[in-house]
Amino acid sequence: MIFNSEFSGQQQHTTQPIVTGGSVIALAYKGGVVVGADTLCSYGSMADFKNVEKIAQVSKNTIYVSSGEFSDFQQVVRELAKIDRSALQYDDGVHPSPRDYGNYLARLSYKRRCKINPLYLQNVIAGFHNGERYLGLVDIYGTYLESNFVTTGFASYFCKAIISNYWNENCTLDQAKQVIRECFKVLFCRDCRAHDVIQLAYVDEQGTHIEQPERVETKWDFSGFKNRANEKLHTQ
């Protein structure tokens, strides 16, 4: 048997993500929190898996989604589910609050960062607990932030202006959803790894509601595209 000495007996460190999820945008609205993510997993620049429903329900009042390495995302979902199941193990019906999940994930990410083997993710945890909205961001280093609005990936560059202009923390659910759709419209135009099918989910007093994926409206029938008015054929 031939063992490749590079790969055997040695711990590997994640240096680059392979299958990646796109941007995530989450906004608080009056009465809850709404999260949007596209349904694409890219394999480098290839749009490989186009119908991935990413938003994970972690507990009755918490949802989780992240951008970055998708296998790490799946692993984190398993880890968080483990914690949720602890209520069953201890027989006490005590479920962690969304903030508990956020902090746990921050500790997990920080531990991995210290080993120079990160969970290659920017994480968003959203929930509603005891009458309070919760929205948390945990990045690849384990930095933990709570905020009224959260963006990951390219959305942090393209979408903050849109959010600033059209959203406030006391808007209605529909207004917040519209802002997110608008953001993904822009992302589809500008981010090469974005997709026009997105999924929205919101958490309010009644619990979590994860919606079916929807296609974002985009306009491509500009006469310039159709008629190729600006193209001139080169002739020698």
Binding site: Y90, D92, V94, R99, Y104
Partner: protein, 248 residues
């Protein structure tokens, strides 16, 4: 009953289905001086009688803070209690580090019970010789638990353990229906009245031999200081639970 045939270690059952070593460990708890706890819908109060080994010595503390939202009162072997106390404190600290929130009380008691049970199922170990009254507050509400050397745990509205605790429990049986709506002050006075039932004729309650710890939904665990204890003990004279009924 030829007890001595079956009581050498934890791994021997008696024909009657008893583990004598565990039962002997529970005796050790009954030898400790009394400690009791009682709760209302908002507060938990722990009261204990401290023993003084000799004139020259100080009084043995019986209540220990585990975290801001949790405390224990012990009866039995103090050394064993220290081990459990350290374990509980460590668990709370780790939980807070990971989740930034307080360890659910029932869950920690469960962990202590697991630890205690483990000691009852080995040839080389002995059970912890201490019973704990765990007072704590978490999102599930206000709690008072008792743990045993056997590894059992129970939740209570009020409970007393240790030497002459039956007298205190009898007091509780008469008055516990008032505790739910009691104010913190009334709760402390009930606790001290119950302890008073359990002391010897020639003993008296004073701020040196009594320890009172209080915990509330918005009140981190604190011990009453000497002056506060003196004031409460003075109030005991005029304390009449019957008047509390008239208020309701």
């Amino acid at each position: 009953m030829l007890k001595h045939l079956y009581d050498t270690d934890c791994v021997t059952w008696s024909p009657q289905g008893k583990l004598f070593q565990v039962e002997y460990a529970m005796e050790a708890v009954k030898q400790g001086s009394i400690c009791l706890g009682l709760k209302s819908s908002e507060n938990v109060v722990l009261c204990s009688l401290k023993r003084q080994p000799s004139e020259l010595a100080g009084y043995q503390e019986k209540q220990f803070k585990i975290d801001d939202h949790m405390a224990i009162a012990i009866a039995g072997l103090t050394a064993d209690a220290r081990v459990l106390c350290k374990y509980m404190r460590t668990e709370c600290l780790e939980y807070k580090y990971t989740y930034e929130s307080h360890h659910p009380v029932g869950r920690l008691v469960f962990k202590v019970a697991e630890k205690s049970q483990h000691k009852t199922q080995s040839g080389a170990k002995r059970p912890y010789g201490v019973g704990l009254l765990v007072a704590g507050i978490d999102p599930n509400g206000v709690h008072l638990f008792e743990t045993c050397p056997s590894g059992n745990y129970y939740e209570y509205k009020c409970q007393a353990i240790g030497s002459r605790s039956q007298a205190a429990r009898t007091y509780f049986e008469s008055w516990f229906h008032l505790f739910e709506k009691s104010t913190l002050e009334q709760l402390v006075l009930h606790g001290l009245s119950a302890i008073k039932k359990a002391i010897m004729e020639d003993e008296e309650l004073n701020e040196k031999n009594v320890e009172v710890g209080i915990l509330g939904k918005n009140l981190k665990f604190t011990h009453l200081n000497a002056q506060e204890l003196k004031d409460y003990i003075a109030k005991l004279e005029g304390f009449n639970p019957n008047s509390q009924i008239q208020q309701e």
